[in-house]
């Protein structure tokens, strides 16, 4: 039996529920967790840049090698050289935060630009841009990155640039699709008829009102991808090199000690990677449902 009951008293004239009432509990949990992770990352980045760390991440203490969490004031224990795990994890964020932002900015700016051109101007622009984006899309990303590394140096910023560029097709086609959808609704045409300058129509009406959620979601997914890419490359030895900590290379060097039964030096950074990427993905997913999916039309 399904039960429906009406509230007594005045029924509001407006139909907009605040989003916390409209959204699924699951989505709210996702978004909550995701925002927590984002907060931690940002705070850690700031702490790391100013070196506000519990201990020096390079400080070797051979007495305390691979100590479990809580030993002698090391909240997350130590790695295989007795260095404080927590400080290393915090500093590890430096490796991917700014580069990740670069990737996001590149992808969003160029993607939006091309998407707007293709969607708004249409016709020839759309055909050409679609062919071009399909072309870029079909490149295997890892191969491209390795090529860049081989041709230039294994600079994380170059790599993030490549990642950003390879994400342009995705953003472009999302924006293009959105604009084409909106065009059917006629109000873009009405804006033109009114005499609004094109700049206003695109920036305000299309992008700000209708695309901002899309772009935010793409940003979260972009960051998740950047983290994964940076840590993978560092793990393989192509990214940040020892002794500078990166979560990827921390997992790599800790792996040698598995045979000794010491799992912590590898597991700690691995868990950090897992929970952080998960956070960004869930944030993107949750926001997608709340802002784009379950919307009342």
């Amino acid at each position: 039996m399904k039960k429906y009951s009406q509230i007594s008293g005045e029924i509001s004239e407006f139909s907009e529920l605040p989003f916390w009432k409209k959204a699924d509990v699951v989505d709210l949990v996702y978004v909550g967790y995701g925002l927590l992770i984002v907060a931690l990352v940002v705070v850690s980045y700031i702490l790391g840049s100013f070196h506000f760390l519990p201990r020096d991440p390079q400080d070797i203490d051979l007495q305390l090698m691979m100590a479990p969490p809580g030993t002698a004031g090391r909240l997350l224990g130590t790695d295989f050289m007795g260095r404080d795990m927590l400080s290393r994890l915090i500093v590890g964020i430096q490796a991917y935060f700014l580069p990740g932002l670069l990737a996001i900015v590149v992808a969003l700016c160029f993607g939006t630009g091309l998407g707007v051109l293709a969607g708004y101007r249409g016709e020839k622009f759309e055909t050409v841009i679609t062919y071009f984006t399909n072309l870029v899309d079909s490149f295997p990303r890892l191969v491209l990155i390795l090529l860049v590394i081989a041709a230039f140096k294994p600079d994380i910023y170059y790599i993030m640039l490549v990642i950003g560029l390879t994400n342009v097709p995705v953003v472009a086609s999302l924006i293009k699709g959105k604009i084409q959808f909106l065009k059917q609704k006629n109000f873009i045409e009405a804006d033109i008829a009114l005499g609004l300058p094109t700049r206003t129509i695109i920036l305000k009406h299309i992008l700000w009102h209708h695309c901002r959620s899309l772009l935010i979601i793409q940003a979260t997914l972009g960051m998740a991808e950047a983290i994964l890419m940076e840590t993978s490359l560092s793990y393989l030895g192509f990214g940040v090199q020892e002794p500078t900590p990166s979560w990827g290379n921390m997992v790599q060097s800790g792996a040698n000690y598995f045979m000794q039964g010491k799992f912590w030096p590898s597991t700690a950074p691995a868990l950090a990677i897992l929970f952080t990427i998960l956070g960004f993905h869930l944030l993107g997913d949750g926001l997608n449902h709340i802002l784009e999916g379950k919307r009342s039309t």
Binding site: M1, K2, Y4, S15
Partner: protein, 366 residues
Amino acid sequence: MTTTPILKIEDLRIYFYSHSKQAFIRSVDGVSLEIAKGETLGVVGESGSGKTITALSILGLISARPGVISGKVGFQSDRIQKNLLQDLGDFVKLTARDGKIMEVSKDVAGWERNVERVMSRVRGREIAMTFQNPKSSFNPFTPVGKQITEAIRLHTSTKTEQEAEERALAWLDRVKIDSPRLRFDNYPYGLSGGMCQRAMIAMALASEPSFLIADEPTTGLDATIQSKIVDLLVELKCEIGITTMLISHDISIISRLSDSVAVMYGGTVFEYGPAKDILSTRFESKHPYTAALLASIPSTKNIKEKGYLQAIEGDVLDTINIPEGCRFYSRCNRVTEKVREKCERQEPDLRQTEAGHNVRCWLYFD
């Protein structure tokens, strides 16, 4: 009504639930109608009046929740006789506060199974329906002719595919589609709106039902095609004399085809009676809404004088916020001091004023 009516709707209520406002949309709020055999009932109303929902509920086609919550739809043809909403009480429990239903508990899945069971031999075979958007009411992947033969074989005693095809072609010809053989093999997208409507009428009537529901048969069609469809319906009415429920917001079509008329507003029936009385300009006891509706259509006099149209003030009733008294009170221009208080506080019943003529208005009760 001396003979048993083919269709008798009693106190039908169909509510939908708005989650964002946490309130009921009372689309159909106590509708009672009767249609005698051979009669054409025209149901007039604007958007929100509940006329299409009423029609859909007769065939059990309401899928939104909670849907039908109370009432009885008695159907009697030569072949069967039953309440199409039988056992509704077993699946629904209502709670009212201050005379208004505020809570509904409904076993939706169980009711849907019940509906399928009750309606399986009724849909198409006893009661046929034509819908508002002819193009989208056909299966886009099958040729039109095949769909008609399918209906014929399902609902009549036609034995062979050959025979069904012959009948389908005969019907297509009867609805005056040009080149029936050609159109038989056409897919729905190849037909214009008018032709699709004709094909749909053919399909509905080819199953030889006892009762036809025509939902806005002319809306969306060009003016010239509209009049052709109406001509067709008039002809078919004379030839076959099938009992029809015609739903439209276009009064001219209602007036050409109907024997009796029911005027709906905000989920209830405001007026019901013989068409020639209700729709004529000279008849006196008309509901203020009906009168105002007829007056707001540009008449020849209006046009000659290039005068202003007599518009009805305000907006059509929002079926979530139903006022306490008469639903039309806020827009009514015939309220007198004598009845003002009653109009504001209490909703009038549908009562008979003359033979066969019922009105829901305080002006006519003493």
